[in-house]
């Protein structure tokens, strides 16, 4: 391939990437734009990307009408706890699933796949009754328990893949050097799994952070409600919405996920590529 062809191909690749990025970013950028527009610009026939008369009124109104900070704190508590607990439980289970292949392991994988197929509405009533008996309705701990159970199968599946990417020879070499089972897991396997654990935790966090239906049904008290539930208070019947404050609140709701991604992006990238190439 000539240098010129190579440059053309590279330019084409970048152009395609740019188009894809624009496509991906469009809803978020439009959300930001809407959040800063006054009501009259929201009803304009010729909407603009940059608000002509930017305002913070939507943010003021959103905070004035709904307890967004309290709801964000609830969401953060639920999502962080769910992510942490899911990872703590899933890591040793994933290790066993990946390293000890057998009927049980195959059955567990099957369960993981099947459990992802249940729609929320199918399980919500039995779940509600169980949590009611445990006095966990209207409790963030009840919601956290649900989130852990809900994200556990996929976390398990995801982590098992990372474990398989860690060469067993490394563990065998450590064993030859005299390390015990626990020492091998803590000193050899766990550090190599770190990117996978971070990626899995992030998945569990985002799943819980965005979840709406369980939170809607399980939390009644206003002071316990999470951010996705509070966001729906800007919606009326038949899809009518208080668009400005809704956009402002939704923009704020996306920030924690974005910040988290930005902070641990390197680790995730490392985790996703780990084991891709046989060493």
């Amino acid at each position: 391939m000539s240098l010129r062809t190579s440059r053309t191909a590279r330019a084409g690749q970048y152009a395609a990437l740019l188009c894809y990025l624009v496509f991906l970013a469009f809803p978020f950028l439009w959300l930001i734009s809407t959040a800063f527009k006054p009501a009259r610009e929201l009803g304009s026939l010729h909407p603009t990307w940059i608000p002509e008369d930017p305002t913070l009124d939507n943010f003021r109104q959103a905070f004035d009408e709904q307890p967004l900070l309290r709801a964000a704190a609830n969401s953060l508590t639920a999502a962080l706890c769910a992510a942490l607990i899911a990872v703590v439980i899933a890591t040793p289970m994933a290790y066993v699933m990946a390293r000890h292949r057998g009927r049980l392991s195959t059955a567990a994988t099957g369960w993981v796949v099947v459990s992802q197929a249940f729609p929320f509405v199918l399980v919500i009533i039995p779940l509600f009754l169980v949590l009611k008996h445990l006095h966990l309705i209207n409790s963030l701990w009840g919601l956290i328990l649900v989130y852990v159970v809900w994200s556990l199968p996929f976390a398990l599946w995801m982590l098992a893949g990372y474990v398989r990417a860690v060469p067993p020879e490394l563990e065998e070499a450590a064993a030859v050097d005299g390390a015990g089972r626990v020492r091998i897991l803590v000193s050899v396997t766990a550090p190599l799994l770190a990117p996978g654990i971070v990626a899995t935790a992030l998945f569990a966090f985002i799943t819980a952070w965005n979840e709406f239906f369980f939170a809607l049904v399980l939390l009644k008290a206003p002071e316990k409600q999470t951010l996705p539930v509070v966001l729906t208070h800007f919606l009326g019947a038949e899809g009518v919405a208080d668009l400005g404050p809704l956009a402002a609140a939704a923009f704020l709701a996306t920030l924690p996920s974005l910040v988290l991604f930005a902070v641990i992006q390197k680790r995730i990238t490392g985790g996703l590529t780990a084991g891709a190439v046989k060493s």
Binding site: G43, E65, H233, A237, E238, A241
Partner: protein, 434 residues
């Protein structure tokens, strides 16, 4: 010796969980504090600021005046309210007082989740609300909700375009007929401006509700109580007019057929559409979003052989069957719906109260923002057709929505529409009425 299946700590944990499950099932949850104060929960779906404020203020007023019966305000949302309530009912954790819409009540009423209010309602409230409104919450022999707010469809019109065209301006006393409406939208259609934009993303309820004005009914209950679908002359008028406007006259904007009500507002403000048929409460969005100097007016929807009649599904207040304090819950509803309070709620939601006395309040007869036009339509409002017909949701989703969407866009003709609505529709209903 038998092998132990589980280690001791696991066995202990399982046993503890089982005990917890068994022991916790007897919680009273009867809504009375230790000091004897009755606690009621009121789940409101109010969402606009004025409406939420009005509801919360009324709860505060009640609590201040009734130290022995305290009401907790719980904010619900229209999104997913049906699933949320269903789960709460099944789990025995439903709010005592439930805000919803009449077309969502049938399943709950027939399922035994809602209290029959007939013997609980005070005469004042029962007599204040007209019979046609009560019929929206009557299922079988029982009354399962108090209808308190409703909204008709009106035409929100660009005043300048309308007045400069010289067409007759309709009033509730002298509304446009459907043929006249078609003629006028033709006159209002100029380069860059359509006479009307029909937001028909959800075409079924609009078609059924406005169809009543020309005597259309579609659903007919026989002497045996079974419902069948017929497509008579009266049923053709409203959909036929819309199809003519879109396909033949091109006086209705075709792209608006796929829009929701709010989606049409930018085009309306930009002078692209002279009129938009919208719910009465959309006036609030118009007030908030219309550009400076934009002049608009509210007109009654066209009338036919049925006059200004149109179907509505009012907002309702119900009491959970499981509530241990039904009488107190109804007392609170009675307080909330006193005429002066009903006016406050109606103004907060930009809707019409169902109560006769509230409807007479001068504040709701102001010409500003079209209140007077809407109030004048109140007497013509009827229960939305089919809201208590079992199988209606399936008919709506599987048969009527696609058929009407194709019809309005001109893809099928009236005979094909009739065939689908009636033949396919009756097959669906038959399954629910065996």
């Amino acid at each position: 010796m038998r092998r132990r299946l589980l280690p001791a700590p696991v066995t202990a944990a399982v046993a503890a969980l089982a005990l917890l499950l068994a022991g916790c099932s007897g919680g009273d949850g009867r809504g009375t504090d230790a000091d004897g104060v009755i606690r009621l929960s009121f789940q409101s779906l109010a969402w606009q600021k004025e409406s939420v404020d009005a509801n919360k203020r009324l709860v505060r007023e009640w609590n201040a005046a009734h130290p022995d019966i305290q009401v907790d305000y719980v904010q619900g949302s229209w999104d997913n309210v049906h699933d949320q309530l269903l789960t709460s009912f099944e789990g025995g954790e439903a709010p005592d007082i439930i805000h919803d819409a009449s077309d969502d009540l049938a399943d709950f009423a027939y399922g035994g989740y809602l209290a029959d209010l007939r013997t609980l309602l005070p005469d004042r409230l029962a007599e204040d609300i007209p019979q046609q409104s009560w019929s929206t919450t009557t299922f079988g022999d029982g009354v399962y909700g108090v209808p308190f707010l409703q909204e008709p469809k009106v035409l929100i019109a660009n005043k300048k375009i309308l007045e400069s065209s010289g067409v007759r301006i309709p009033t509730p006393d002298k509304p446009w007929s459907w043929p006249e409406f078609r003629q006028i939208t033709g006159k209002l259609t100029k380069k860059g401006t359509y006479g009307v934009a029909w937001p028909l993303k959800e075409p079924v309820s609009v078609t059924l509700n406005l169809g009543l004005s020309s005597g259309g009914q579609l659903f007919h209950r026989g002497a045996d109580g079974k419902v069948t679908i017929r497509f008579d002359e009266g049923d053709r008028v409203m959909p036929g007019t819309v199809q003519d406007q879109v396909v033949s006259d091109r006086s209705a904007a075709r792209p608006s057929l796929g829009m929701g009500g709010s989606d049409t507002l930018p085009g309306f403000f930009g002078g692209k559409y002279a009129m938009v048929p919208l719910g009465f409460s959309y006036r609030q969005q118009v007030v908030e979003q219309a550009p400076e100097g934009f002049e608009w007016t509210v007109l009654p929807a066209p009338a036919g052989s049925g006059g200004l009649a149109q179907g509505v599904s009012p907002q309702t207040l119900s009491v959970a069957e499981d509530s241990p304090h039904k009488k107190e819950a109804v007392r609170f509803i009675d307080f909330l719906l006193r005429p002066a309070n009903m006016v406050r709620l109606a103004k907060g939601d930009w809707m019409l109260p169902t109560g006769t006395e509230a409807l007479a309040d001068p504040a709701l007869h102001a010409t500003e923002n079209g209140w007077a036009t809407g109030t004048a339509l109140a007497r013509a409002l009827r229960p939305a057709p089919a809201q208590s017909v079992r199988g209606y949701p399936e008919w709506k989703d599987k048969v009527a929505t696609p058929a009407l969407q194709e019809y309005y866009s001109g893809a099928i003709d009236t005979e094909e529409l009739k065939k689908r609505l009636v033949e396919d529709g009756n097959r669906v209903l038959a399954r629910y009425q065996r």
